[in-house]
Amino acid sequence: MTLNGWLQIFFFLALILLVTKPLGLFMAHVFNGERTFLDRVLRPVERLIYRLTRVDAQHEMRWTEYAVAMLLFSAVSMLLLYVLQRVQGFLPFNPQHLPGVDSAAFTGSSFNNASSFTTNTNWQSYVPEVTMSYLTQMAGLAYHNFVSAATGIALAIAFIRGIARREMQTIGNFWVDVTRATVWVLLPFCLVGSLVLVSQGVIQNLRPYDTAQLVDAPSTQLIAQGPVASQEFIKQWGTNGGGFFNANSAHPFENPTPLTNLIALFSIFAISAGLTYTLGRMTGSQKHGWAVWSAMAVLFLAGVLVTYASEARGNPLLAGTDQTSGNMEGKEVRFGIANSALFATVTTDASCGAVNAMHDSFTPLGGLVPLANIMLSEVVFGGVGAGLYGILIFVVLSVFIAGLMVGRTPEYLGKKIESYDVKMAMLVVLVFPLTILVLTAISSVSPSFGTSQLNNPGPHGLSEMLYAFTSGTGNNGSAFAGISANTLWYNTTIGIAMLVGRFMMIIPMLAIAGNLVGKKIVPSSLGTFPVTTPLFSTLLVSVIVIVGALTFFPVLSLGPIVEELMF
């Protein structure tokens, strides 16, 4: 580890701290319907959208209506993406004349991709530059990058309303929240951000791929082109993570300079950090928002410390060789250890999944951190919206546990947390390990379709399989690599895992919001556990780590932990 590396890490965290208040305040204004500096341009756009889609912006929804609207929107979007992939060979903007996805051999890839992008996962078992036409990239994948992120933000705002409102039955209007998230929070920033990326060398064109004559061989190399910049910024800003190219953010056309690398890191955390301030603003307890932010920051620093230290230490199996730069296998020389470790931690703290280094090549402990980050439900800033409502589930559990300690009915910002809320919180928490562990277990005992696709035997092979299902269920989308997942088994099961990990966690979360919104505020008393103090942040961190550790420790001990001990 170097001082320069740590300075870069703390500089990054300082940037996130700086953006939290202005962006959080901006989002609070947007979702409260208050004035923002973009209103003169965007209000007419919003009104036009409502007129065209016949949305009554004044209509307020109960949680059930909000949930069903979200499910219908997602179902229709997913089916459209499925069809678009299958028929892309007959459609324009396809200069390479790529056939429909799955047309050569049906592996269920089109289902997996549709599930992946609808759920904000962006797991990619395919090679994008030889699979997806420009039209599919722009109208299918980039579209989902926006609306899946907007859906996550809308859900977080709905949950905040559930906490903030008193004795009401409604938590907002899904269509209004999605529209405002897209038009105010995503589109303007992506427009500016994409242009900045173009200025740094990220490509943006619709022309056929270039052919380059190789210097040292008589052969040629095809250099993929495409509308990359317009998809690149939202890839991070919406914590989607799906690369235009297979190498993702390690590709020089996606991430050409140190500045674009910093922009990528910043974009992944910005909205999620801002939402903690929005939480404080909308609930009238700004200190609570910062307490949640602090818990996230502590977990982030712990993760980056372990990853950075492990990768800087080098690979013990290569002892005797020059490893002064650390474990550089699978890493870009231009990013080095610090920025690779930071990127891996950030992308798995959030449910982004973009990568600038190959996680499969990390040391066992270095690879354990990205895996564990996803297993903690990606609540360390987390995915846009998903990170906030994810950590609020842990907040509900934390105040419940604190209530048990003092023998009082737990309260959260004046709302009593009762049996229904805790039951729903446990449904959110349990569906995650259940999906991951069952599917990993089946794959690990099935040589014909499970273990046959692994590139490594033993504990590392288990880690590869475990990571695939964890990344899918956690809607992260990053690949550990080392596993050939473009098969009917993995495409189907990971596709289902992504749907379960997204929607079966959202529904009980919204149920909690729908239950809390009807409660009245109870005045705080001596028995009330304050949710604005360092003690609360400590308890929150403990609950997140203990729940994650208890659930996944056995399987982690068979994978990365035993691999570390084998050195």
Binding site: W63, L71, A75, M424, I496, F503, G514, K519
Partner: protein
């Protein structure tokens, strides 16, 4: 043929999800919060 299977599975999943919404609401109706 497999297209039909996957499209039907997708629709089936979302139908189950809608049923899950109503099941959660029904459970909520069965529990009475403290006034």
């Amino acid at each position: 043929m497999l297209d039909v299977v996957f499209i039907a599975a997708t629709i089936g999943f979302f139908v189950i999800a809608v049923a899950y919404v109503h099941a959660c609401e029904k459970l909520r109706g069965g529990e009475r919060n403290e006034p």
